[in-house]
Amino acid sequence: MSDGQDPMNAEGMAHTPPEGGVDTSHGPILYLENVSVSFDGFKALNELTLYVDDGELRCIIGPNGAGKTTMMDVITGKTRPDAGTVFFGQTLDLARLSEHEIASAGIWRKFQKPTIFLAHTVFENLELAMQADKGVWASLRACLSAEQRDRIDEVLALIGLIGQRGLRAQSLSHGQKQWLEIGMLLMQNPRLLLVDEPVAGMTHQEMDRTAELLTSLAGRHSVVVVEHDMDFVRSIARKVTVLHEGSVLAEGSMDQVQSDPRVIEVYLGA
């Protein structure tokens, strides 16, 4: 709680998903339409409209204060929009759901600072994050089934930490910690994964691995990545959205975006 990132301040922990799955029959899994958020009159988000397709890997860039983090706060229910609509699929109005309900609907977020359980092994971290009965009594009697082990192994392979499975999380490198945290989110089988500045502080090698990891997630999960590092965003080479002063300035491939004169003016050209 000390890190000030506790998004779970609601009392109840009902992890029952809202009735019905996520309806993505029209393509997008996430709809942000004319969303505005202001803090003391300052518009952090200004009529933001943004769609993310199901299975898409989307990069969001933008100068400091453009509203990227605020946008994630709105999606996860941490901040409520003053105006506009936020929908998950066709039917789930995120503005009406609690943070818990949003998480159980399948939207999970990775914060900048990795918060993993340092005294536990990599394997145990994933075990703890696994979808299961989380009651006290169930935990006392819990015993991993073969399927659950397979699922953990699968995620271990995905995040490239098979060799480190028995290692305590505290002995991992910075990059490995970030991957482990992504792995913990994957154990929740998220539909939409929000990742805020994943490569800050990483070595180049780790950045490449992270790009690979995020790319491999696309398809099975929808992923939205906020990142400042241009080389990293280019290496992912997907659709890029540029935010500026709370709204979308440009959208397209990295090359398109970079040659857009407005983008050059406010951001890249600086």
């Binding site: 709680m1 890190d3 990132q5 506790d6 998004p7 779970m8 922990m13 992890h15 998480a103 918060t115 993993i116 359980f117 340092l118 005294a119 536990h120 145990e124 075990e127 703890l128 994050a129 989380k134 009651g135 006290v136 935990s139 006392l140 009697r141 819990a142 913990m184 929740q188």
Partner: protein, 382 residues
């Protein structure tokens, strides 16, 4: 059945070297002490006096109490500065049973009322003393009284997310308040004299050597079982969740664990364990009075666990035995120095051995292993 439990114990201790060593020593002591007291004649220098047997039995009770604290402090990260209260409550429940066992053999010879009630001119037994003439009822209360207090206290404290220093202070206040309450004569627990002059337990004379040895053995058994059940808990997924709560509470909550429930149940279990320790302690020392609620007792207990090394369970046992042995020695040789020694010990351990004696051993072993692997050559490493 016994095969099954044998199998469970084996898996429990598989990766618990310290636990295996501790249980082996405990078993050896449990075999040797009765022989040394009951079989070896008093004329022999190997004979162990009943006094020593009881003293060792007391250490075992403290060790069980320390295991209870380690569970909640070392694993769950909740520093309880009032665990002595649960110990004392269990002790009072046992004391009430022993009191009723006295029957009409008290100084005043009243057929029903304990001496202190006759002295206070009470005419009849208060309702909360009903049932304590039955051993099974006393056993129930030994678990229920501390368990219920821990439940109510934990329910409010953990739900309102009281943590850290604040929680420690409240637990300390809790035991202090109970001490003041039990000091009052009109509470009906014997006031500052407490409950004493016990005669027998289940019909066995408390002064006889065999009863003392039996109580000692029961304490050893309780310690071993308490240790194994605690080990089972910390080895289970519940144990891993609890450590996760200790290290990153909001994160554990975020991935769906109801943190307050976990804290509550470990706290309640720990309190019950402490109560059992207190119940075994009282017939051995022959008295229970409000000073058992003294905040200092709870602090001493924290020092025990810190000295031994928290978060290992067997470290708590080691610390409890060492610190209490030191206390016995100091209070007979230099009684006025004990508190300074205790304080100094705590400061030293906190600064020099944050993981306690057990941590020190682990570090030395790690260093030795590193040296050995360096000698055997790094050729195998890829």
């Amino acid at each position: 059945m016994s095969m099954l439990s044998h199998g469970i114990v084996r898996t429990l201790l598989e990766s618990d070297r310290g636990g295996r060593i501790f249980l082996l020593i405990l078993a050896a002591v449990a075999l040797a002490i009765p022989v040394a007291n009951l079989v070896i004649p008093e004329s022999s220098s190997l004979h162990l006096s009943a006094y020593t047997v009881t003293l060792l039995g007391k250490y075992l009770c403290y060790a069980l109490l320390a295991v209870a604290l380690d569970l909640i402090w070392g694993y769950c990260g909740i520093l309880s500065l009032g665990h002595g209260a649960f110990f004392a409550l269990g002790g009072y429940a046992m004391g009430m049973y022993l009191m009723r066992q006295i029957g009409d053999r008290g100084v005043y010879g009243h057929p029903e009322l304990p001496d202190f009630m006759v002295f206070l001119n009470w005419q009849e037994l208060p309702w909360y003393w009903y049932g304590f003439d039955q051993f099974w009822f006393a056993l129930l209360m030994i678990a229920l009284a501390p368990g219920l207090l821990a439940f109510v206290f934990g329910w409010f404290a953990f739900r309102s997310r009281v943590t850290g220093v604040y929680l420690s202070i409240i637990t300390q206040a809790l035991t202090f308040a109970l001490m003041l309450a039990f000091f009052r004569n009109d509470m009906g627990f014997g006031g500052n004299n407490g409950l004493t002059d016990f005669k027998d337990i289940l019909g066995f004379n408390l002064q006889s050597d065999t009863t003392r040895v039996a109580l000692f053995l029961l304490s050893a058994l309780a310690l071993a079982l308490g240790y194994l059940v605690s080990r089972y808990i910390v080895n289970s997924k519940l144990g891993r969740v609890v450590v996760a709560v200790r290290d990153a509470e909001s994160r554990a909550r975020f991935i769906g664990y109801r943190v307050e429930h976990y804290k509550l149940w470990v706290f309640v279990f720990s309190a019950v364990l402490a109560g059992i320790a207190g119940a075994l302690y009282v017939p051995q020392v022959g008295i229970i009075n409000p000073s058992e609620f003294s905040p200092l007792n709870s602090i001493e207990l924290v020092v025990c666990v810190a000295v031994g090394g928290r978060g290992t369970l067997y470290g708590a046992v080691l610390g409890a035995v060492l610190v209490n042995y030191a206390k016995t020695w100091f209070t007979t040789e230099f009684p006025e120095v004990w508190l300074f020694a205790l304080g100094g010990l705590f400061v030293l351990v906190t600064i020099l051995m944050p993981q306690g004696i057990v941590g020190l051993f682990a570090r030395l072993r790690g260093r030795a292993a590193a040296r050995k692997s360096a000698e055997s050559g790094a050729g195998e490493a890829t």
